[in-house]
């Protein structure tokens, strides 16, 4: 019985010790998931009314997390949700709905 108690205590301690080893690992900060970025080029993006219009339409596309328009460089940067891709047809349609013509768009790396 004593031997049994001792074995139980050993297993319990080992379990706790193992837990003590594994806990910090499971609590380590998760590696940030990369968010795909795209740069969209539209002609005549100087006025905020058209820029916000494009931002508004693009931000409603599936998979889009954030849209940022830079009036100085006349570019739109689209941040996607993890693993999502921006589809040409959808971008073209959104830009057209905003009253403009799409000049082009390309992947611009990722953001963490």
């Amino acid at each position: 019985m004593n031997r049994l108690r001792s074995a139980f205590a050993t297993v319990l301690l080992a379990g706790l010790a193992g837990g003590a080893v594994t806990t910090p690992l499971s609590a380590a900060p998760a590696t940030p998931v990369p968010l795909p970025l795209y740069r969209v080029h539209v002609e005549g993006l100087a006025c905020p009314f058209c820029a916000y219009g494009i931002e508004k339409k693009l931000s409603r596309l599936p998979g889009v997390r954030k849209v940022h328009t830079d009036l100085r460089s006349e570019t739109v940067t689209v941040t996607m949700k993890p693993g999502a891709t921006l589809k040409a047809g959808e971008v073209r349609k959104a830009v057209r709905a905003a009253g403009f013509t799409l000049k082009g768009f390309e992947p611009a790396g990722t953001k963490r």
Binding site: C47, F49, Y52, G53, L71, G99
Partner: protein
Amino acid sequence: MNRAARIGWGLAAVLVVLGVAAGRAWFPAAVEAPYRRVGSWGGAGTAPGRFRNPIGIAFDAGRVSVADSLNHRIQVFTPDGRFLRSIEVPDRGRPMNLAAAGGRVYAADYWNDDVLVFSSDGRLLRTFGTPGRSGSAPGEFNSPAGVAVGPKGNVFVADFYNQRVQELAPDGRFLRQWGHTGKKGYVPAGWFNYPIDVAVAPDGSVYVADGYNDRIQVFAADGRFLRKWGGPFAANLRGPFNGWFRTPTAVAIGPRGAVFVADQENDRIQKFTPEGRFLTAFGTVHRGPGYTETGVAVAPDGTVYTTNLIDDRVEVWRARGGR
């Protein structure tokens, strides 16, 4: 001189006369000196008194209200630029052109498809349209860009993507509209190509900044079309000349009915008579990408307040040698 030569000379004379007349009509000279800039405040940032894309501006009861669009707020200042208060626009809205009348501030919230009415102390009193839902039915909006208040308290809204200007009663009832819902028109009167702002004169005349048609259209209080201007025949032609526009983004009525137009992509404010005769132009030229003069408001003493979009500032202008 034979008959053919006489006809030739006659035609040439007619062309010269027409050319001179067209030159005067389409390339008018200034009849007033440009206004001078007498003050400025702001700068980029989120602190009180700073801006991120200031767009609309309005003057009422000794207060200057500024639509600080990317900070999702309206900031209120004294006429000399002292910060008074900030009014938060709900749901991270983006306020565009403003109106101010009777101690109230009216904001076209482009992002949430509604028009908001605030009290002078910043309380939200009324919302026109359905927040967060665009629509094209009467009383609904699709990215409202500008707002004005008429002499009887009616509210006029430049309904950008619906290609129309709506007139609503003070309680929000739809009264009428100009333009054809969702359809662009480039040359004929009464059609719009993205209307951006609207102003109402004391006699009830309605002035519309017909943005991408690069012109101003004017309608009588009873709705009739009165006149339009902006380049030859106001027919969707843009240019840098006096009286022409490159995207008019705001319109305001000053003392004696003078019409002030923010001609954004020309970095200037243009001043006209109520009939559309060009008087003068002024503004801050930006050396680099982006444009300056975007919003305009006029105080009863004739002082002009403008928003300089790319520099994130408010500018104050006065006529040289008087009002």
